[in-house]
Point group: C2
Chain length 317, copies 2
Amino acid sequence: MESPVRTLLSSGVTLADAALERLLPSPDTLPHSIHRAMRHSIFAGGKRLRPILSMEAGRMVANTGNLPEGIADLGAAIEMLHTYSLIHDDLPALDNDDLRRGKPTCHVAFGEAIAILAGDALQTLAFQTIARLDVPAETVVQILQDISTAVNTGVGRLGDLDTGIPPGMIGGQVVDIESEGALPTAELVETIHRAKTGALITTSIVSGGLYALGATSRNAGSSEIISRLRIFGEKAGLAFQIVDDVLDMTQSSEELGKTAGKDTATVKATWPAVFGIEQSRRDAAQLIADAFAAVEPFGSAASSLKALAQYLVDRTH
Amino acid sequence: MESPVRTLLSSGVTLADAALERLLPSPDTLPHSIHRAMRHSIFAGGKRLRPILSMEAGRMVANTGNLPEGIADLGAAIEMLHTYSLIHDDLPALDNDDLRRGKPTCHVAFGEAIAILAGDALQTLAFQTIARLDVPAETVVQILQDISTAVNTGVGRLGDLDTGIPPGMIGGQVVDIESEGALPTAELVETIHRAKTGALITTSIVSGGLYALGATSRNAGSSEIISRLRIFGEKAGLAFQIVDDVLDMTQSSEELGKTAGKDTATVKATWPAVFGIEQSRRDAAQLIADAFAAVEPFGSAASSLKALAQYLVDRTH
């Protein structure tokens, strides 16, 4: 028998994939090349972690046991943003990766020009999808504000990188690129992780909650709900990235399905590079405990989201 | 004394520039490189045509003689989208242009990685700016839907490129890249022009009208207003691009401020390449007449928008 969290993951993948299949232009829509390139990267075997977190946050806030109607489209929009960032990250001018999840990266399969434009188009389609969400306009605007901030150029408020701007995905990518080769410090690694991966994971959870509040026309207590979701997202997102760093250092390429040890080979800023493997594992466990504490008031409605977070730090690949 | 249209243009540039200055992160915000790259391309001497058309469409629909409060931010968002598309278009994998408006292109000044991310960030910032517009949430959502469709992958409904999807900027870029070297046909050139440049010009005008309707809380007659603005935008946008093609073919590089004749040298799909210079000029004049007819019901409130369109087809550089 499958564990509850595995059932949750597999049904989440099914829902997210169905929404993506419906929202992406068909491969036979002209111009073929870009639509095929977008699909190539979107359907390359992603775990749909962000859509699943978004949907489960929505389920928790709705508190009916069910997902709010149409929330898979929000998850799909977030997955489009994640995928666009991977396509551009893999380009020769950035990480220059030929393979992702064992398949040729977008520019290897379709050429650089189409890969750049396919990334651009996935960002556009994400915002178009948000514009069409089946929730009140006020909710759409709240979701748009939160997500657009999370994928922007902020780097956060840590150490001497203090900017007063919330951390954002592109900001994290820039700091990551520019710090390559430098000796990673604690502030630098935390800044990159919170911005490059943490911000999108956090907004996945926050926007799922906003969606559920809008879908159920609720205002009472909404600001406390959202601030608890944000803490959960920030803590769980950082724990997830720390575990990713540890796995990259400790597992073989075969177990990971990608080139292991690449981060250490190029002196990338990773958590274990600064704190060591054992401390990294303790930090991840503490962050998950903090994340759990933030959603304690939701009671049993939080169990799926907590099980997901636990699964993510316990995973071995 | 300056002509009225020149006054309109110069005050429009001032307004758009002030909004952009306020909305873009300062050059001293970390990470410096991307914020400086975004500013490099945004403040490289653009004519602010799209923001000005957007603001003047708003003024016409508001019908008070004044611009709706805060509409310059909408114009700035549209200029960010235009600029992001230029940054990515100039990349080595696409047009490989070293100069734009006499200045080094973004990737020449900041490297390819930062240029790719700066383009990405300008798209994000555009949607974040739209999310914060000072109009009712319903209006924000309408504007978001129209603009995100206009910068997407559609190629329109012409000839055998029939897709049922409205023309979009990225779709036009893809068709333009992929048709390079092919003998241009009338259908191909019209499709590229309507998608690659026409769609963003059209949504500039349509979204300016939507903004004014939202700012003045009006619903009555709004669908006719928007459909007239759309026709005006499509006709004037195509006329603008035809004139651009003609100028490229007939002017020296010095007069144009860019490499003239580049389109013919590489057998690019241009209007005069298919229809000849004289027919192109007649087509542009007819399109402007059609555009004027569409806004006839607005009476004297349409005079600024009409003067702008006339100026754009009469320009010599």
